[in-house]
Amino acid sequence: MDGTTIGLIAVGVVFGLDLFLLLGLVSLKAVHRRRMARHDTRRAGYVAVLSRHLAYEHHTDPIGADAGDDDAFIDAVIDLRNIVSGADIETLAGIVDRVGLARKQVARLRSRFPLGRRLRAAVSLAEIGDDSTAPVLIEHLDDREPEVRIQCARGLGRMRYTAAIDPILERLGKEQAWVRARFADTLVGFGAKATWPLIAYIRVNLGHDGNVGVIEAIRVLRTIGDRDAGPPLADVLRVSSDIEVKIAAIEALGSVGGPLAIGPLSESLQSPDWRLRAKAASSLGEIGDPEVGGDLARCLRDENWWVRRNSAAALASLLGGDRILIGALQGVDAYAADAAAEALADSGVLATARDRSETGMADEQDRILLAYVDGREEVPA
């Protein structure tokens, strides 16, 4: 055989293989489409039967015993659960119970099926499980598959099954970042019921495992927004030496700390770490107590741009803060003046001053601000 013949054979083999793979792919897609079409037809049938049960309480159309194992039935139930409420949900729960859906999905979750089927079971239980299935979901918070663990946590959060809070918290420090974030979302769903378990978790785990779980727990407390978390978070800010923990605590104190957080946050304005000073300034602005105006005014002269910027923005949100910022425009410190001007522009004070100036209603403060911003050589004293 010469080289040309070998080359032609090679091209033919490659072409044949490509064709084979292409046909395989097309066939697989066709099979999948047919399967989905059958699924949709069955699902529509189940929606119709379930609708009759909802519309007429004495309706007796049978629902096959195998429905509890059919993804189309589960989808129909989930769809209907999302559009009805009250007694209709109980009617659906009764039907779900009669076909043994939860029992069958639990068996599927515990099986050695590949991830797809087990994940589907976890999603089903997360959507329609009740207190009776909660222990199984808790058990699978340790599942080998992260997607299954996430669905189990989500289901427990949906049920607001408070006994699940501690097991979910236990996972926080052990999970990868993306799973941890999803677990944290679940904890937010428990609301104030999760506050004290979260605080207990933070106290026990502070300083362990790189504080990753602690930082996430502090963020959850911030999102929940329960004021009870303020004093314990102030303690965390005081005792922890981890900058990331301190930053999370400062941010949370701005949201949930209230007046009790002003002391610890004002102390953080003196921190040698600029990140803490900058975050503390923002949090003090969020609390909004005019008493901290003096402390924030001093931070307008901070060596770090972020601290100056955040302090000016915080002052702009305080009652009487505008006056302090206008004062900074007249000072000798150019850094403070720039930060003040930027904050006054961001907060809308500059736009108001311009409007008033155009209508001849500008007051002394407006004139000082406009003179500074427009770059006049001399700012009126």
Binding site: V47, R81, I83, S85, G86, A87
Partner: protein, 122 residues
């Protein structure tokens, strides 16, 4: 025997339309459906409905836009808005435009049916 009242159910979710059609037909109403905004608008113009149950968020045209167009073309309809949008401005805007009621999803089916019966009586 009086002629059955005609109701148009317009919602892009087939689950919602199936549920409402089932419940309405059970009570003896004659029901038609639309699965998008444009179809709802056209059926409203061409049909003679006693009541329209109209979803706010539909592909093609929003529920509020459909009501406005019907009014512009001199075909005001008796509409119950149905929406998963929990937004007071949408509720107020719908009622200002002449919707006779506004029901939020998820809804209680018996309560929605009672509202429909009441609107068809009045």
């Amino acid at each position: 025997m009086p002629e059955a009242k005609r109701v148009l159910v317009a919602d892009d979710s087939e689950t919602v339309t199936t549920l409402l059609v089932t419940a309405l037909e059970l009570e003896g109403y004659q029901v038609d459906t639309a699965l998008n905004g444009v179809e709802a608008y056209e059926k409203g113009i061409s049909g003679d409905f006693d009541l329209v149950i109209l979803d706010q968020l539909m592909p093609g045209l929003l529920g509020l836009e459909i009501i406005e167009r019907w009014q512009t073309e001199g075909r005001p309809m008796r509409v119950i808005m149905l929406s998963g949008v929990d937004d007071d401005r949408t509720v107020v805007h719908s009622l200002d435009l002449g919707a006779v009621d506004f029901v939020r999803k998820p809804f209680r089916l018996p309560e929605l049916m009672a509202r429909i019966r009441q609107r068809l009586l009045s």
